[in-house]
């Protein structure tokens, strides 16, 4: 008897035994060069001589004096807001106690104490169009302010990072980094990306550290110029193919094809950009400390790796804009495992179990973990001096961390932390409480269900877009409005 198979028939076998074990999926290697070369890299070349030549070439902003950066982070599902009379209030309420310059961090944000003078916590801000929409629908519009609603037709608009990237992206190899733990775009009202383009279309997020690293630092070919010229020809050809197909399509099909054409055009823009960069060598970075195949199953390591990649991208001026969504709302997806970093099972569940013994503390402990990592990232920027310039990297980088809901998925009083950007004029060391009404500014504190997500507003809040306009202006974007903004925030 003789059995012969020519195909890989591993897919025909059962998952018993062998298939159940750790299966690493072997990927096609995209880089034609030996990556070990990079692994042996000698650290970031701090002098970055290539940069000087580029600034002349691109006639762009001088990095040392005029480099501005933005990074935004999203935490799903809100924060602990126990009532004032709850024993957990003192330690585990997310918002600090006090206000203005006179405030104390609770244990949730305590890890930020060492960089207190670079930190502003904000309360009383929210997107008006989301205030009566359940928090789980709102990650989509955290950075856009668009009325994406809770059901029905869905339309989004450009996110603040992309507004800034349209300008800052001119100066760097990559316009912006769009990252999330879950990757892709997700679904309407279940976004797995924070970034939306000028047409309001979701920009797919990268979620594999290895891919992000390769995109930033691994040269895809030995002779990039030729490659790019070829890409351009290939793209032209794709356009021609699609245009000729279009002529023979029904009206409905033409719409679908239009999206395809648009993606080809967007790719062309990227190739054009890459062309301008082709003579500038890629920075070499030391990645011995990084485990690039880490997954969210190892949450702390994964989160640190993602932060580190953003740090490296900023440090090498590969981009000046980044978004990273820690997780999708509502405990959907692998991001729900992040709480395992601090010994819990599922992240979203922590938000539902605040009334169980130790519930506030558990949820707060998770928030503290995020603060630690966020703080570590900010401190790292602070500890790195700006190339050729005065101050440190953090002074030229503004970081926004937040969630589209506060107490139990209530879409108001967003928890927000601004860090850095002193050279742009950001003022820090304060807890700013906006709005009018209930001085406590703790709508639905202590809520133990999300039943009140559309309760009456007893407190008048300020549009979050006002903060965005303020940020954009300080980042050098000439605008006096963003989405539904009504002004700016002078205190920030």
């Amino acid at each position: 008897m003789r059995l012969s198979f020519v195909r890989d028939f591993s897919h025909l076998t059962s998952p018993s035994g062998g298939r159940m074990k750790k299966v690493s999926t072997m990927k096609i290697s995209f880089s034609s060069i030996d990556r070990r070369k990079f692994l042996r890299g000698t650290g970031v070349a701090l002098a970055l001589p290539w940069f000087e030549s580029f600034t002349e070439f691109a006639n762009g902003a001088k990095r040392n004096t005029d480099c501005k950066r933005l990074a935004c982070f999203y935490m799903p599902d809100g924060i602990p807001v126990p009532r004032e009379d709850d024993p957990a209030f003192n330690d585990w309420s997310w918002f600090p106690h006090g206000r203005g310059k006179d405030f104390t961090f609770t244990k949730c944000l305590e890890p930020l104490e060492p960089i207190r003078d670079d930190v502003t916590v904000l309360g009383g801000l929210s997107h008006p169009s989301a205030r009566s929409i359940h928090g789980h629908s709102n990650a989509d519009q955290f950075l856009t302010g668009a009325p994406t609603g809770g059901s029905g037709e869905y339309r989004n608009s450009i996110s603040i990072d992309q507004m800034f990237a349209a300008q800052a992206g001119e100066h760097t190899r990559i316009s912006s980094l769009v990252l999330s733990t879950d990757g892709g775009t997700g679904t309407p009202r279940g976004a797995q990306t924070m970034s939306f383009n000028r047409k309001g279309r979701a920009i797919p997020a990268e979620h594999k550290p290895k891919r992000i690293f390769d995109m930033l630092f691994v040269k895809s070919d030995d002779d990039a110029a030729r490659r790019l010229a070829i890409s351009k020809s290939v793209l032209d050809d794709l356009m021609a193919d699609a245009q000729s197909l279009k002529k023979t399509l029904s009206k409905h099909d033409q719409k679908t094809l239009a999206e395809f054409l648009q993606s080809v055009r967007d790719t062309e823009v990227k190739v054009e950009k890459a062309k301008r960069w082709m003579n500038i060598p890629l920075p070499t970075v030391d990645v011995d400390h990084l485990k690039l195949d880490v997954t969210p199953e190892e949450p702390r390591n994964y989160l640190q790796t993602m932060f580190e990649l953003i740090y490296l991208a900023f440090k090498t001026d590969s981009t000046r804009v980044a978004t990273y969504q820690f997780g999708r709302e509502n405990g959907v997806g692998v991001s729900d495992y992040l709480a395992r970093a601090v010994g819990f099972n599922l992240t979203h569940q922590l938000t539902h179990k605040t009334k169980e013994p130790g519930g506030w503390k558990n949820f707060g402990t998770y928030c503290r973990f995020l603060s630690e990592e966020y703080g570590r990232f900010a401190s790292r920027l602070k500890a790195t001096s700006e190339v050729g310039g005065n101050g440190n990297m953090l002074d030229n980088t503004v970081l926004l961390f937040g969630s589209a809901s506060s107490a139990f998925h209530l879409s108001r009083n967003y928890p927000l932390i601004l860090v850095g950007g002193k050279n742009m004029g950001f003022k820090h060391g304060q807890f700013l409480k906006y709005g009018q009404g209930n001085e406590k500014n703790q709508a639905d504190a202590g809520a133990n269900s999300d039943r009140n997500w559309r309760s009456e507003m007893n407190y008048e809040e300020i549009p979050l877009s006002n903060l965005f306009v303020t940020m954009l202006q300080k980042l050098g974007v000439e605008t006096d409005s963003f989405a539904d903004s009504t002004g700016t925030l002078a205190e920030v």
Binding site: M26, S151, T248, L249, N448
Partner: protein
Amino acid sequence: MTNSISTSLLAFLVSIPAVASAGSYETVLRPFLAKYCVSCHGPNKQKADLRLDRLDPDLVNGSDADMWQEVLDLINISEMPPKDAKSQPKRSERQAIVDALTLSFRQAMKARRSTGGRNVIRRLTAYEYNNTLRDLLGLDLQYAVDLPPESSAKEGFKNNSSVLGTSALHIEYFERIARSALERIILAPTKQPTPYFVRVEPELAFKPEPAPVTTGKQTKKQRKPKRRSGFGYDIKGDHFVPDKNVKTPLFRIDHGEPSANGDGVLLAGNRPSDKVGDPFAVDRKIGGSQGDGRSGYQPEFRIEMYEVPHDAPVLVRIQLSAVPGKDDAYPRISFELGSFRGANVSDQKEAANIEIRSTEPAVYEFVVHGANFPFQSNKPSRPSYFRIFNDYRRGTSQLTYKELPKLNIDWVEIKCNHYDTWPSPQKNAILFASKSRNDESAYAREVIARFMARAYRRPVSDAEVDRKIALFQKLRTQEASFEATVISTLTAVLCSSNFLLISEPEETVVANVATEPRRLNDYELASRLSYFLWSSMPDETLFKLAAREQLHNSDVLLTQVKRMIADPKSEGFSRNFAAQWLDLAGIHRLAVNPEYFDFKEKDKVLFEQESIQFVHQVLNSNLSIDTFIDSDFAMLNPALAKHYRISGIGGGSFQQHTINKEHHRGGLMTQASMLFGNSTGSETHPIKRGVWVLERMLDDPPAPPPPNVPDLPEPEGKDLANLSLKERLVEHAQVESCRDCHAKIDPWGVAFENYNALGQWREGVSDPLVHRAHQAVNIDPSTQLKSGKRIQNLDDLKKYILTEKKPQFRTAVVRKVMAYSLGRYLEFSDRSAIDTICESVEHENESFHTLIEQIVLSEPFLTK
């Protein structure tokens, strides 16, 4: 308004675009608004700046749809009219207006997304893209792993045109994936790579004088001639490695015993220690592989090789026979490729898993591609390996060591860099032999034209080829070689809209006018068939029939459908249709709460496999679609049988097992994929389960809740934790209008209460499988459906579906398969086709094949 009326109304109204349909606006909405709303939101007063009598009732083209949604929500949750208003609507009035508005919104949604009942252009899904490259290039690699994760359409199908977006990121990936695959094939060296060859006679391990132990942690104990369980032996004689400096390969045997004739090694199945008659009960794990997650004593046979050519085809030849165990238990060979990533850290993946029945020695031969496996070790000093073991699991059977089936392995040969021909067949298929090989431009034209036709899945026009030739000529000046230019040109072919999109264009320019429906041509039909049944491109047979214009013949079509179902590639249908129809992704969205269950997360894969295998079984054996609701068999492997507490199941992979009543299994609804996927990961979730049944089995999705109503409350604090499930449902449905909707949903889910969150059976007042702290209070599956029908338990519910609800269930399955086959939403114009298919299916004893055949023969499938 009852459900059945709204359904039929809906059917009539979908094609009418202007909604808050004239009728319901005049008869239901306007009177209600006039009576309860307009006094505050009308000509005299406009509280909250809202004037309802002026709102445009056209939800499709009008501009007030958002406002109407708000009105609906507020009325629905009884916030409007305000509590202190003088006149309050009756519950029935409120319900009527909510129903009317909800219906209108549904219609408007359908009208907006309508494709006019016509099939539409769509991008290949990630899995179709992967399979198409596999079949086009003849190389089975994981091409699509880096593509961004994809979402699914409202009705759960990923191949729905409306959700298959394309972004610049996609284009970049498509370009990179295509280029690297083509480079791998075309840029292979001209000289055939030297094979790396190893032959092993395992009995060497048992010769009177054991060969000297060479590597690994050796202990004195191990060196004793008796009770040895694991050894490593250098393969001195029968091997050939391309480089003399490469370390000598070796083989290891762990817990194997000599075969009766002394000519091989016997590997028993996996089992916990039974001490009695088990020669290895003491020497547990000595010298064996560790930390790989296998439990108990796993006899294994491993060949370790250094610096293997890992990115190339591997030929494996094994001579072996079966030593059957008690009760006709046969061994299974499982064969893995892996590598060491560190001290005691290894990674491997299974390449084959086959039951062996022959007691006579026979040679088995496999070819796999090393790139699909973690076969590349990360240091020259760490080996890559092949591993063989007997994947018979004792499972829930009671076989002792002696009674276990064993594999008798005579010899094994491994050949890396295995190419029958050189250049590789993949390269020969692209750069084929031709008379014009010496005339570069003539040859380029042949190569590109042939590749294009297969990639585009149709004949290509001269103009199309001309354009690619123009590209080729342009690139030729920039590229270093003919081959490199071919790669770039074919990359363009693989990124073209003609490859990435499934399109059915008109033959002439249509210039924006609506076209009349037309028959698909035979090539279009071939693609539609193959993406339906194989999730991949057509094969040569289909192309030939298309070329002869015979495919559209009903007889030919039916023969092809039969052939395609019998082809292993139909696993593409079972996997992808099942995954999307049954929402198997739900399994991965949820994590099991370890406070409730002792459960290994990775075992969730079993849940997914069971449902895929089950659907595949129905397809393969042409069973009745009733099987989806109830069956006298289950697809089980030992691990899943253990999970379900079904005794007597041994063996290896998933197999059909007859079950009886006390197993409480049968059909899709008792499978853990559904039961777990629609739980909270801790507890059951009757609402989700109810919605799943209505949506997936009866195609009658309940109206969406008013946006974002809270989920079923988690038991918070001691008080709520003591509430019974039913009480919590009542708690949830405090608002009247919620209660009305939930009366339609919840009872369907309550009937599943005998199945815990992991789909395990439970009854009485406690669930023995849940940790004590989280005991359920009372398990009561009895319920009453909205129709008044009383249901005692799930068996009752199944019966009800298979009798009174039978036509609805049949239609549901037809609609699901049809939507999947067309890659679009179904519309009113598909209705008569669906009715006809349903009649045939009923007539043919609910045969699943009939259902598929009739869909293939239906107008919507055959036309554009």
